[in-house]
Symmetry: C2
Subunit: 203 residues, 2 copies
């Protein structure tokens, strides 16, 4: 799947559920005038559109942030959770519950944190999640978000995103080089973000 292409378009009736195997995707909602809010960032192992499949309609789109590899599960296999193998069912519940916890934290982040805290908090979350699936290389993690994507995740404008990243850079918390962000000082970053990772634990 190509970077920047849609895995699922908002409003579609999905016929397969996608498991992300490699790369990054996001869920997003578009308003009629083009405003976009990214509501989730998916990493390898995550289900891209389980809720849409179960509800039989996508009220969000799923977009590929990078080139990625997706697994497909026929909708019938997961549409009715009561017909699933118990182990599978439990696994899906766990995922959904974790998604919900993350989504709740995103709401708090956008609603009640300052711009600086938001950016720092997002970086902390991604750091922990990337780490958890064994993809972090030292303190560096390869999140090739454009500033537009950052902005649409955090409910901010690109200009402001840029200024905040600069600020984090000047303070020595991160290093920037061509879109690759390296977190230099995770402890301070967590302090700045007011980050508590407990919402990310599996179950």
């Amino acid at each position: 799947m190509e970077a920047r292409s849609d895995v699922l378009r908002q409003g579609e009736v999905p016929s397969v559920a996608h498991v992300l195997l490699h790369g990054h995707t996001c869920r997003y909602r578009l308003l009629s005038d083009g405003r976009r809010q990214i509501t989730a960032v998916l990493l390898p192992g995550d289900m891209c559109d389980l809720e849409a499949v179960m509800r039989g309609r996508a009220d969000y789109g799923v977009g590929a942030l990078t080139t990625c590899i997706l697994g497909e599960i026929p909708a019938e296999r997961v549409a009715d959770p009561t017909t699933l193998d118990p182990e599978m069912s439990r696994a899906l519940w766990r995922r959904l519950l974790r998604d919900e916890a993350i989504s709740r934290e995103w709401l708090v982040r956008i609603g009640r944190r300052t711009a600086l805290e938001r950016v720092a908090h997002l970086l902390c979350e991604l750091r922990v999640r990337v780490d958890a699936i064994g993809l972090a290389v030292a303190e560096e993690f390869d999140m090739q978000f454009t500033q537009v994507e950052f902005a649409d995740i955090l409910g901010m404008s690109t200009g402001h995103i840029d200024r905040v990243l600069q600020q984090l850079c000047r303070t020595g918390l991160i290093a920037l080089s061509r879109g690759v962000i390296t977190v230099l000082d995770m402890p301070t970053m967590e302090m700045v973000a007011g980050f508590d990772p407990s919402y990310l634990r599996a179950a």
Copy 2:
């Protein structure tokens, strides 16, 4: 249960799941410095803390917005969804999926809508939800939120909430009297909010 009291405190290990039978409650997250974000408003029929029970820990609190009546379900009965009666299991899934859809919409609302749109959108959502459970009396609905609560739902300050409500009042879209908001012109309100109710449908 008293208005303003906690049904579940953030961080607790819940031993029962609560079904709201009468009144309104909300889920909220507190930051260490006291900032609060309300992440959900619950109406009669809603489960207050199902996710917390299933995850075995509450990363959010549940507060009573009004005096309310709650049903209790022992945690063991719902903690493991695979041991449930299939009909019950399906029902819980549906609820969780709807909660998720609402939560996603809240994220979009806070992240990408203007203050005016936010207030209008919230009013539209509540109107539809109250309606769906048969509690709306004409165009009036009895949502006794304080402005603090409004602010904590929408990620704004109370001062600004007040000004926006005034504006809606001046435009003739709502009437205010003693905290009771009456929506006078729902169609225009939906227009102003950019409201699309499809995310609220049951399944």
